[in-house]
């Protein structure tokens, strides 16, 4: 039972930590975030396997991790509430060219992040050209620009 409990404990702890810390999509991670992920991976390895380096133990741990992940995916499919808890909810951070300060700050973003997404995805130049910017559940920023006929620029 030991590998099962180890895998479950590590999985749920990491799920909790990364869920609470905030959203950041893979495309947004900085080199420091990447380094942090490597260190976390290294630190978890010992906790997952203990002193049992057998193939059986490794296979058991993998099976438990994949199993619990599949189970959570099923739960998310069946319950919107579970999905929201595990994946989060989208949040509008810019509306009608105006930055919503409380929202953007609490979402862990700043204007530069929004402008970067606007430049990359739509080639926009200014905040006023953005109708809505939305922090999606996966941490990505979606940009909805004003249509050309309504573009204030």
């Amino acid at each position: 039972m030991d590998p099962v409990f180890r895998a479950l404990a590590v999985y749920f702890f990491l799920l909790l930590v990364f869920r609470i810390i905030g959203k950041r999509s893979l495309s947004q991670i900085t080199s420091f975030d990447f380094l942090l992920l490597l260190i976390v991976g290294e630190a978890t390895q010992q906790a997952l396997l203990g002193q049992d380096y057998s193939i059986t133990n490794a296979l058991l741990v993998i099976m438990v991790l994949v199993g619990v992940d599949y189970l959570l995916a099923m739960l998310k499919e069946r319950s919107r509430a579970v999905e929201r808890i595990l994946e989060g909810a989208p949040l509008i951070v810019v509306a009608n060219g105006k930055v919503l300060e409380t929202r953007i700050k609490r979402a862990g973003l700043d204007e530069d992040d929004v402008l970067k997404a606007a430049r990359l995805k739509h080639g926009l130049e200014r905040m006023e050209q953005i109708k809505y910017a939305i922090q999606e559940r996966d941490g990505n920023i979606s940009i909805i620009p004003y249509s050309t006929e309504r573009d204030p620029a």
Partner: protein, 194 residues
């Protein structure tokens, strides 16, 4: 200053340090992030924002950060071993025992016994070694034998000395035992984190 998210507190961007910010938030109870602080907007995007849910998550973030700070302080203090909270010293005339109250599973810990020259023996219950694996004893005992349910370590010395038992916890949880050092009994209570 954003619309009253942290009303009454200096925002971090305007010179207030993170520590001050966290401290003030904590002193005043629940972090000042309320549903009413989120800007209300009418939008045409087909999505549900769940404002209450976001506020709940933001508050959890505060609590988590506070927990991280508290855990870091407690770790330095020795809650997980090697610190003033963990180090325990019991002295009885000529003998003494020094050990870590908190240990971590699979991680070395040292039980130190200070002996007088007159009676240089240490008696440890056998059951103690079911919880802790004995890696080494420094200096090496002159003699080691089993007496009843105890192991007796005899050291060859004519003067005061310190014997260190290097142990590795092999079970997590609490353990209590009595160790006899130079004829005096010492209660040893330890907790091993998983």
């Amino acid at each position: 200053m954003p619309a009253a998210v942290f009303r009454g507190y200096p925002p971090m961007a305007s010179g207030g340090s993170g520590c001050y910010f966290l401290m003030k938030s904590w002193q005043c109870g629940w972090p000042k992030v309320a549903l009413k602080d989120i800007e209300t907007i009418k939008h045409s995007v087909e999505l549900k924002e769940f404002h209450k849910f976001h506020v709940w998550i933001w508050r959890l973030q505060y609590l988590f950060m506070a927990l991280v700070v508290v855990t870091a302080i407690l770790t330095v203090a020795g809650l997980f071993g090697d610190g003033w909270m963990s180090r325990t010293q019991i002295v009885d005339d000529d003998a003494a025992v020094v050990y870590q109250r908190f240990a971590r599973y699979g991680n070395d810990t040292v039980l130190e016994t200070r002996l007088s020259g007159n009676n240089a023996s240490v008696e440890v219950p056998l059951e103690y070694f079911e919880r802790f694996r004995l890696d080494s004893v420094v200096p090496e005992p002159r003699e080691q034998r089993v007496r009843g349910n105890r192991i007796v370590f005899e050291f060859s010395t004519g003067e005061a000395m310190t014997a260190r038992f290097h142990l590795v916890p092999r079970r997590s949880g609490a353990s209590e035992t009595t160790i006899v050092v130079g004829g005096a009994s010492f209660p040893v209570a330890q907790f091993t984190w998983p």
